[in-house]
């Protein structure tokens, strides 16, 4: 998680410090886990290590790329889940949101299983109503799917593990199908170019930041004395 590329992506995407906050929480939780393990002894340590064992076999740079992809998958999965729960979409758009959302949630689950304790935590997202109106939903869906396709393409040549590459290619083509589906529903040509360009982490980060979808987590717990009626 110290890779300069991932840092650049986070810096670009994290306009109000929300991702930094998410990472800080993850690191604090990780430190707490370590302290807890020290207290609980070697048995607990072995258990926790086992959960991250699959990720531990991967190169650090691949874990870094997988976490970058996971943030994008979180973004997409939360977007479609919120759209489905809002109940505001109708017809073929509602059906597409349901199908694509189910796939994105499966991607998130698979990343979490692979990364175990090394997975970055889910940021808080605020889609500001784009999930609650048909046209803004489709416009955003096209942007997110095109972005995901370009982002996977940008990272594929950097992966060291062929097994991770095989998985990434499998997801990339699914994201491309989603992009074409959403483009068609939005009323624009599904496939325009003979060759698609990849997107760097920095440009993906800038685009994500420009949406303001990554939000600070609201503070709902305090150490104050209550002033309730008693």
């Amino acid at each position: 998680m110290t890779d300069a590329g991932f840092e650049a992506f986070l810096d670009a995407a994290d306009r109000d410090g929300a991702l930094a906050e998410t990472r800080a929480r993850a690191e604090t939780a990780s430190r707490r886990r370590l302290l807890g393990m020290a207290a609980a002894g070697a048995g607990a340590l072995a258990l926790t290590r086992a959960s991250g064992a699959r990720a531990a076999r991967l190169a650090a740079s691949d874990v870094d790329i997988l976490n970058y992809a996971l943030v994008l998958e979180y973004l997409q999965a939360t977007f479609y889940t919120e759209a489905e729960r809002s109940g505001a979409l109708t017809g073929k758009t509602a059906q597409a949101a349901r199908v694509v959302g189910a796939t994105e949630r499966a991607h998130v689950k698979a990343f979490l299983q692979l990364l175990g304790s090394q997975a970055v935590k889910r940021p808080t997202f605020n889609f500001e109503g784009t999930t609650e109106q048909q046209r803004p939903f489709l416009k955003t869906a096209v942007a997110l799917e095109d972005l995901a396709v370009a982002a996977y393409k940008g990272q594929a040549p950097k992966l060291r593990s062929n097994a991770v590459l095989a998985a990434a290619v499998g997801i990339h083509s699914v994201e491309a199908r989603h992009a074409a589906w959403m483009r068609q529903l939005f009323g624009i040509t599904p496939a325009v170019n003979a060759f698609d360009k990849p997107a760097s982490r920095k440009s993906v980060g800038r685009l994500v930041a420009s949406t303001h979808f990554i939000s600070a987590t609201p503070r709902m717990k305090r150490r104050n004395k209550p002033g309730f009626t008693g």
Partner: protein, 261 residues
Amino acid sequence: MKRRTRLTTALAAATLVGLIWAGFGASPRDGQDTSFGALRPLPAPALKIGRPEALSSGRHFSRWTVVRHATVAHVRPSAASPAVADLAVWTAERTRNLLTVLRSRTGTDGKVWVEARPPVLPNGSLGWVRRDSLGPYQVVDTHLVVDRARLRATLYQAGRRVFTAPIGIGAAAWPTPAGEFAVRSELTRYASSFYGPVAFGTTARSAVLTDWPGGGVVGIHGTNEPYLIPGRVSHGCIRMRNRDILRLSRQMPVGTPVTIR
């Protein structure tokens, strides 16, 4: 005759397959083995993508959000309609002001409006708020039911009962209000044995203690008088024995809807 035709067809097919196999497998070009058999097998993908994850029915889910910019809740999804309440960003507990999200629709201005329950008197008020004044949506699958007749609180998660405990509620002069509310804050590590180790703020307000500091917010908290529970002993708050409130705090997230009946 039929048998002869079948035999001829089978022989022809076998010859064709043989020719194709020989064509693919033979004659390496430029010193390279181009046969499929010599290629490295594809690696197994590192990720096991499971079946698409359909959302559950949503029957037990509820959504909440917070006020991002100070705003006004209106009777209808229109800024021209009468105001129901002014909504601040922060609560008296210095946590973010929480609203339970009921539904959303597009207003006459073309913007998204959200129907929510503002934490104001009279309890049970509903109001429409512009979506762009609100924060991220959060989802919970828990629900606390407070039964004033039986003096018992029960927490459900995804429709399944996960916690129940006896409670103290408001005395006759300061009744605990009935209605649909939500847990809006969680306070801990304060120096007051009166409230026990944990205190939850709710969106319910006392209809009689309106001049109470902070507006008469009804809380759910522990106590330094456990022998009074169960009973009608409080100023409107819901009291629990300390071991029960600690157990509840491990299972009940902020945003949980609260039904007081």
